[in-house]
Symmetry: C2
DNA sequence: GTTAGCACTCTTAACAGTCGAGTGCTAATC
DNA sequence: GATTAGCACTCGACTGTTAAGAGTGCTAAC
């Protein structure tokens, strides 16, 4: 049996309708559509074929059909056309970014919030990573007896500060001096390189400060780990607006999945390298997300991929529209971050 | 009609039972209790009186009684005895704090997580505030052309950094110099004083850097605002475990209330000055929280109140136990923060 | 190949009936 | 006078039945 043009058209109509209504689609519903001039009986025959081919499921004998995951996969791979945002949608998105945002963290938060508000799905944003960034400045700021703040600034303008212990006999003047020396020696190195350099070269020069330098090395190497990157989540409760999650147990499962930040980190970290990803239902590794789909896009600084963002929604997701919105957000973040970092 | 000792005892028994089961309590349930030796008929008469006095509600004629808000208020004000934590509970709490936490933010996160895990309610933690803190060090770190990081360190060892714009003609050397001068001039001032001093005294000395100094002033004054303090929330979905929230609309209302961070900030900011607060049902200003109770405690550094933490749960909350847990957490945070800041 | 027609399936809503937990009242008892 | 046993009554929860409606699969006619 072949999946000819007519079957494809009917399948698309079913998917469209199901995405809209979340209710099993009957043959009459499709036959009434103006672009398909066939009787319900014919549609029934075709639907029966589509079910046999694995593209449709039937909840019970006398119900309509719902698209299978295979159908969604086919849809996003072949049928789906690139959607465009209307002017209304674009201005709605823009209205979330009228306030000037000065910090990366604020941008992430606001983006996550806007993204969940616009899509009505759960959104997540992975902050820019330090992995390929180069050190620009390392400053040690005295905090208290035996404590200092290690401030790392990268060439991409990202920064991170960490509290470290220092020997009691090191005063503000020494910290200042050390900041200068370390900055000079480590400048323009990638953070992991800088970390290595600390343990090899510099350790010899400052043997008396071994423990102290180790702490700084830790800071440098830890900054690269994705789990140290901030992940903003927003609109988790949006899922409750979808009838497939009116079952309390399912909703709980969904929230449980979101609580495993590790999983989300991993998904988004993988997505950084890809222009976009679409993961449908059981393609997700977590059992609690078998009824969800995840769509992500990455954002860049110039050509360098920085981070990623995505949404989680029911498998019955408006993939085309969602992808269009995400692309728009990706471009927006890139611009905002670029402004933030490189503005004159 | 009087609220005599027997009525009080019966009311307490009803509250105890209702907190445990969430089901209307019948007269027979109470009469069976070993500490109350009365027939169900007597209990019925007393219950009828208690209802007339406004301490009990009856969902419908043939159902048992449930405590009214007035009953909970009476309970927490007069009946409730200070609860003690069992050794098991204490070690359960301690098990959440085995990992060494180096940063205030990590402590807040971990505390919120542990608190919601132990209580099974939704927890929130307000980070230490800068309001009465004194400036210890102000460091400007070069970030990029026209950008610097302003790092504020207070005597309590708290720190905060903010990205600011600087004039293009200011280089690392000038930033270093300015850091030294500003630190010298502003040291040991409260942050709001320091902010004022900037606009009055210092502005004259550095007239050419007016805009720049304004930015730093902004940073100082903004640090005091409670909305700038980080608020950690955890276990929001715990509420789904309580039968009173098995209604999806109610659950949605609850989540909506949590989304208004402003409200939570305000509640916790007010709670900083109080040893503890208990807010029951409609005493809450938000309509979506009319079925919730909020319990908070504050935590201190020495005698200085620093921040607060609390839980949100159903009005049918185990107030005594919750308060005991919160007190324990409050003391723990105080200790951890003290260690963090003052450790040798 | 398409479609009208029809028997069949299954879900859902509505309705009546039963059960049981709980109440309120009254009269007897301590 | 306080307490309690007894009993009629109320109301929600549950159960079983029925009818309506949406949708299917199949067959025969076009």
């Amino acid at each position: 049996m072949e999946l000819d043009a007519r079957k494809l058209k009917i399948l698309q109509a079913i998917i469209d309708d199901y995405i809209l209504t979340a209710a099993p689609v009957g043959s009459r519903t499709i036959s009434k559509r103006s672009d398909i001039n066939l009787s319900s009986a014919t549609i029934r025959n075709e639907m029966s074929d589509l079910e046999e081919l694995g593209f449709l499921d039937q909840p019970h004998t006398s119900a309509g059909r719902i698209p299978s995951e295979k159908a969604y996969r086919l849809y996003v791979n072949s049928i789906m056309r690139h959607a465009h945002l209307t002017n209304d949608e674009i201005s709605h998105i823009k209205s979330h970014f009228t306030k000037r945002l000065d910090e990366v963290e604020a941008v992430m938060k606001q983006t996550a919030y806007a993204l969940s508000d616009v899509t009505r799905y759960t959104s997540m944003v992975l902050a820019p990573g330090f992995s390929s960034a180069r050190l620009k400045h390392l400053q040690l700021v005295p905090v208290a007896e035996g404590k200092a703040l290690a401030v790392i600034v990268t060439d991409a303008g990202l920064f991170k500060d960490t509290l470290i212990r220092i020997p009691d006999n090191i005063g503000p003047a020494e910290l200042e001096q050390l900041s200068r020396v370390l900055t000079m020696r480590l400048k323009n190195r990638r953070l992991d390189e800088a970390g290595k350099l600390m343990t090899t070269d510099l350790m010899g020069d400052f043997r008396e400060h071994r423990i102290f330098l180790n702490a700084i090395t830790d800071v440098l190497t830890k900054s690269i780990k994705p789990s140290e990157r901030s992940l903003e989540l927003s609109g988790a409760t949006n899922i409750l607006n979808y009838p497939e999650y009116s079952d309390m147990d399912k909703a709980k499962g969904f929230f449980t999945a979101l609580e495993s930040r590790d999983l989300l980190y991993r998904m988004l970290a993988n997505a950084v390298k890809m222009e976009f990803t679409i993961t449908i239902g059981s393609e997700n590794e977590d059992v609690n997300m078998r009824d969800c789909s995840v769509v992500t896009v990455s954002y860049k600084l110039g050509d360098e991929p920085l981070g990623s963002l995505g949404v989680i929604g029911p498998t019955r997701m408006n993939y085309a529209k969602t992808l269009a919105i995400l692309n728009y957000f990706g471009k927006s973040i890139s611009e905002i971050i670029t402004d933030l970092i490189e503005e004159d």
